[in-house]
């Protein structure tokens, strides 16, 4: 290791000097000479690092190893062990080696990652998801071992409660309470379920989390199994995610081989096994009671609550259901502690949240940020803003259950409460950025088309109400909107919110109500002046030929209804009463001579 070059930085601020950093420097030089290392190692003095309570501080690079409270007697050991044998002296390292730090060290200086903090996704992109040894090497299953060896089930639950973790699937119910309710139920047969039925269009957090780090989900479920006294776990995952399913299957097999699943785990009395059940493409199955019905082999329809699944769940037994991201956060809470977890986030929402950012932004993808990060930071700093110099119009959060927030809310600090107050929801974490080219009426209609189709049909407000709303939105976007339609949408929407059976129906009107609140003028334009400013509602468009026309005839040839007339080399004309507004002439024109309005 003698050829290895090290750079040592010794803090030379007032406090550290007071703590004898000068003596350290001398000891260091002497020791380096003794090992003949003066050429290979450079020693630098730095100004105050600001970590005065831990001084004197010595930093060893490469490796970003930060030693604190270093005394002269420690120097021989540091030089011998770290600089000669390349083995850091762990007892002196300032230990704030939280699990997420690893991610930050690898990617932190890239803009996209700089403002992120990865807890649930801490291993994604770092480990080989199909190799259990990779997960083990990064403290994998250590949280399980800690829980089994040093904590009682009650202590595990207390830790989760204290962390302030809330369900990441959308509703934000405090996870610890859910665990406690289930633990308090009598009976030997209890179930732990991972809800991986990620159905929101535009959301792919759960898929990526599982594909990138399947073991952390298993570990979270195992810890819960121990805490609530369950011996069986089920992962309910969409059949549309073949790669995630494959990796989970592989992870389960590997965990069994390592004695981390099955009988008497890690030599304790705790036994637990996990099974995968596939969904079959029904959005409503993300709702917990519908999900339970689906696992039981029925149509996935919800039922009224209470009783909650924590009392009467799968096969009538107490059942604990959490979302993928919630499970992935559990090992961190157990290892790094609830106190640390509680330092991240806002007053009411602790930890981080993963968002799937898509739509009109430069960097689309997954972003995990501390609660309290603003929408602007996510969209502009992390995701690089909107391409093509177009103007931001809205951001849609929470999928078909959420709402659209206009520019005024960009500086909203994201947590469960602030988003709800702004008229949207956290939801499972879908975030779609919309620019001036998108029509809000069409967007609302798109979501309603989705929910009215996915409505399971059990309760009338959702089944009939969403259909009527969809019909009204359709006629508005086709230019047949009537006076009073807006009021009708609002009345229907509020009624559906109040009277639907499950979360799907209760939140289905949100995209319409929030766009009505924030973009009412666009609805009015569609109804009154029959125009769509984004140029998206085909029925409201008109195509005309402008003076750039050279008479090439390309538009005339492609028009499927012969609505273009004109002679060669002369300006053409579009017959408005014949035109079906298909836009083919617009696409065919090479001279920019057709105006869309």
């Amino acid at each position: 290791m003698r050829d290895k070059k090290f750079k040592l930085t010794l803090c030379d601020g007032t406090s550290c000097i007071h703590n004898q950093s000068k003596a350290l420097q001398q000891a260091l030089q002497a020791e380096l000479q003794r090992h003949n290392l003066t050429e290979a190692v450079s020693v630098h003095l730095s100004g105050c690092l600001g970590m005065c309570s831990k001084g004197p501080i010595l930093i060893v690079n490469p490796g970003y190893i930060l030693y604190g409270r270093v005394r002269v007697e420690d120097i021989p050991e540091i030089v011998e062990s770290h600089l000669v044998h390349n083995k850091a002296v762990t007892r002196l390292i300032i230990t704030e080696d939280h699990l997420y730090n690893r991610f930050f060290r690898i990617f932190g200086d890239v803009d996209f990652f700089g403002k992120q903090m990865r807890i649930a996704l801490r291993n994604c992109g770092i480990i080989d998801p199909e190799n259990i040894d990779d997960y083990l090497s990064l403290r994998g299953y250590e949280a399980l071992a800690k829980a089994l060896e040093t904590m009682t089930p009650q202590q595990v639950i207390a830790e989760v409660k204290q962390s302030g973790l809330r369900g990441r699937g959308g509703a934000g119910f405090p996870s610890g309470l859910k665990w406690e309710f289930t633990a308090n139920q009598d009976g030997d047969e209890k179930y732990v379920i991972c809800n991986a039925d990620e159905g929101d269009p535009g959301a792919f957090m759960d898929r990526s989390a599982i594909e990138g780090d399947p073991h952390t989900v298993l570990e979270g479920m195992l810890i819960a199994g121990y805490a609530i006294g369950a011996s069986k776990g089920i992962i309910y995952i969409r059949a549309e995610y073949p790669l995630a399913i494959k990796r989970l299957e592989k992870a389960i097999v590997a965990a069994r081989e390592h004695g981390l699943l099955g009988e008497k785990i890690l030599g304790s009395d705790f036994s637990f096994d996990i099974e995968i059940r596939l969904g079959a493409g029904a959005f409503v199955c993300g709702e917990e009671t519908a999900l339970i019905h689906s696992i039981e082999g029925h149509r996935g329809m919800p039922r009224p609550r209470p009783p909650y699944p924590s009392v009467v769940g799968l096969f009538g037994k107490p059942t604990l259901i959490n979302n993928v991201e919630t499970w992935a956060s559990i090992p961190v809470i157990i290892l790094d502690g609830a106190n640390w977890f509680g330092t991240v986030g806002t007053e009411t929402s602790k930890g981080t949240k993963v968002f799937a950012v898509a739509g009109r932004v430069h960097n689309t993808g997954l972003v995990e940020v501390p609660m309290g990060t603003t929408l602007r930071e996510i969209i502009y700093d992390i995701c690089g803003g909107i391409p093509g110099g177009r103007a931001f119009k809205a951001v849609q959060t929470g999928g078909p259950s959420g709402g659209c927030l206009p520019e005024a809310y960009l500086d909203t600090e994201i947590d469960y409460e602030s988003l709800a107050k702004a008229g949207s929801i956290m939801g499972s974490g879908g975030m779609i950025v919309i620019d001036e080219d998108s029509c809000m009426v069409s967007l609302a209609r798109f979501f309603l088309e989705f929910t009215q189709d996915e409505s399971c049909g059990k309760c009338t407000p959702c089944r009939e109400g969403t259909k009527r709303m969809y019909e009204i939105l359709t006629r508005i976007s086709e230019g047949n909107g009537q006076d009073g339609d807006i009021e009708k949408l609002e009345r229907l929407g509020k009624m559906i919110q109040r009277s639907s059976l499950c979360g799907l129906g209760q939140s289905a009107p949100n995209p319409v109500l929030s766009t009505l609140k924030n973009f009412r003028d666009e609805y009015e334009e569609h109804i009154q002046s029959k125009t769509c400013r984004a140029g998206q509602c085909a029925a409201l468009l008109s195509y005309t030929v402008n003076e750039k026309c050279v008479g090439c005839g390309a538009c005339r040839r492609v028009c499927p209804v012969d609505a273009v007339e004109g002679t060669r080399k002369e300006m053409h004309r579009i017959l408005q009463d014949k035109c079906i507004r298909c836009g083919q002439c617009y696409d065919a024109c090479k001279f920019d001579a057709i105006t869309k309005a």
Partner: protein, 169 residues
């Protein structure tokens, strides 16, 4: 039933025998339907009848389940299944245009199969690859960042591959 179909039926029977041994065997109905669709490509009536008899679940219940979930096909499907992602991100980035092009090019409506049984056209909710919207999935393969021309090119590749005499394999 052809010999091949008999083979598939045998595999399905073995699968059903396996799940029947488990606790709460009824709850594996959806898993059995997945297996049947994996083998036959869709859920034929006679297969459903046999599932009903073997698992002692009324056919009406099985059909209720099969029709509730989008994933199950009740009609034979083409050699390649094209799923056009109609998720929010794809919608914002022009999925409708891609779908229209496919409808025109293949001359089929959504949910239907081309006359030569080569393609079945479907809409998908969200395929979860929103970063490369708009996209389609043909069988298990994802094609992203599409426009009308790219879409037609992809279809033509599949047509060409299908027209070529089977090489090697």
């Amino acid at each position: 039933m052809t010999e091949l179909a008999q083979d598939k039926m045998t595999t399905l029977r073995e699968f059903m025998a396996e799940v029947s041994q488990k606790q709460y065997a009824d709850s594996y109905l959806i898993a059995v339907l997945h297996k049947a669709q994996e083998l036959f490509g869709y859920l034929p009536r006679e297969v459903m009848d046999e599932v009903a008899e073997t698992l002692q679940i009324p056919t009406a219940h099985i059909w209720g389940v099969a029709t509730f979930y989008h994933y199950f096909n009740l009609e034979p499907i083409g050699r390649h299944v094209i799923s056009v992602c109609m998720g929010t991100a794809c919608f914002v980035k022009g999925a409708q245009q891609v779908l229209d092009v496919l409808k025109k090019e293949l001359n089929v409506e959504v949910g239907k199969t081309t006359g030569d049984m080569l393609f079945t056209l479907q809409e998908a909710r969200c395929l979860g690859a929103c970063g490369i919207a708009p996209l389609i999935m043909i069988d298990d393969k994802i094609y992203g960042e599409l426009d009308a021309k790219k879409t037609v090119d992809i279809i033509n590749q599949y047509r060409k591959a299908a027209a070529e005499p089977q090489k090697g394999t």
